[in-house]
């Protein structure tokens, strides 16, 4: 079983990175769209966008922590 651990880590990272990647792309896309609709709001959109990016990124980070601990 021991030699399967690297594969477990690789699969864990690969699968766990899918959802955050999609969600960060989605956040960026909607932010772009809303800036396109209302360019004056770009400054106001930036901070909540960064915050939600960080929230989405955190999911990948949980996976990283688990990958380190197995």
């Amino acid at each position: 079983m021991e030699e399967l651990t690297p594969f477990a880590k690789a699969i864990l990272m690969a699968v766990g990175a899918i959802a955050p990647a999609i969600s960060i792309g989605w956040i960026g896309k909607t932010a772009m769209e809303s800036i396109g609709r209302n360019p004056e709001a770009a400054g106001k959109i930036l901070v909540p966008m960064l915050l939600s990016c960080a929230f989405a990124e955190a999911i990948a980070i949980y996976v990283l922590v688990i990958a380190f601990s197995i």
Binding site: A41, L51, A54, F55, A58, I61, Y62, L64, V65
Partner: protein, 318 residues
């Protein structure tokens, strides 16, 4: 088993001149471990390098605040300008979340001190003082243990902060809405008691009340989920940053790590901001009680729908 948890990121080979004059090659490995490494043992207390960094952070904060305190004046000069700007911006951000100046003035001191503590810890981990450390006999040869490791790159620090935030929010709720109402958020005895009162007027309550009761129990689990997510988010981000920097620096030591260092400075700031914003949100949730909470929220919406400028500020909160 302990060795399995360690990942050897860089292995530096270093030639050490031995005392007899002949050259021996000895491996010094530096391992990036998930847990903070102990530096000094006393009888039943282990001083880890993350603990030392958080002491340094506290020390820095105390020095800076005493320095600012001694230089306070009516017309701000120099560094006082910077801090007044930070405090003003942070307080207005806090206002946007709580929608209530009196409440945000109560919560703000907790949030800003947690923010500065986390920020100092995150940035201390990035300083190049990681080169100072001790050599310790490991499993295989010598292993290098740095004195400074970002205090928030240790799960114990972040877990402590998260427990403080969640318990503090509930304690704050007890002081502002009372013990009985806070208790009823989780173990909803009030709604069970209402069955007897309202069952003649409204028979469906016998179905609704148990559901509400179990929702309360789920919220109790949610409090522990809050602790886990708060602590793992902060710990994971900072620790992943350190691993990233170490692996980039082991690939190419010059120039290439600089953009990643800037990225880590940004990440450290954003994570400190997120932690303190969530702390304010939890404290605000703690002060609201279920019955009067709903009308207040509706009222604030109808107020803000008139003014175009204020509508934007509400959007930011949600």
């Amino acid at each position: 088993m302990e060795h399995e948890k360690n990942l050897i990121i860089t292995e530096e080979t270093q030639e050490i001149q031995s005392q007899t004059g002949e050259q021996t090659e000895q491996k010094i490995s530096q391992e990036t471990t998930l847990f903070a490494e102990p530096i000094y043992h006393t009888e039943n207390f282990i001083i880890t390098n993350a603990l030392i960094t958080s002491w340094v952070a506290v020390f820095v904060l105390i020095i800076v605040s005493f320095f600012l305190r001694s230089k306070l004046r009516e017309i701000p000069r120099g560094i006082q300008n910077v801090f007044e700007m930070i405090i003003e911006g942070a307080l207005s951000l806090c206002d946007q979340i709580t929608n209530n100046r009196v409440l945000s003035e109560k919560i703000f001191p907790f949030a800003i001190s947690v923010f500065f503590f986390i920020l100092t810890n995150n940035w201390l981990g990035l300083l190049p003082f990681g080169g100072f450390g001790i050599l310790e006999k490991g499993n295989e040869g010598l292993s290098f243990i740095p004195f400074l490791r970002g205090g928030t790159a240790d799960i114990n620090t972040t877990l402590g902060l998260a427990i403080m935030a969640v318990f503090g929010a509930n304690l704050f709720g007890v002081f502002s809405v009372g013990l009985w109402k806070t208790f009823n958020k989780y173990v909803n005895l009030e709604v069970l008691g209402e069955i007897g009162k309202k069952i003649i007027k409204d028979p469906t309550i016998i179905l609704v009340a148990p559901v509400t009761f179990f929702v309360g129990l789920i919220e109790l689990v949610g409090e522990f989920a809050k602790m886990a997510s708060l602590s793992f988010r902060l710990f994971g981000n900072i620790f992943a940053g350190e691993v990233l920097l170490a692996s980039i620096a082991s690939m190419m030591a010059f120039i290439v790590p600089i953009p990643f260092l800037f990225l880590e400075i940004l990440v450290g700031f954003i994570q400190a901001l997120i932690f303190s914003i969530l702390l304010v949100v939890y404290f605000t949730i703690g002060t609201s009680d279920h019955e009067s909470g709903e009308p207040a929220r509706n009222a604030s919406h109808s107020d803000t729908s008139g003014g175009h400028k204020e509508k934007h500020e509400v959007v930011i909160i949600n």
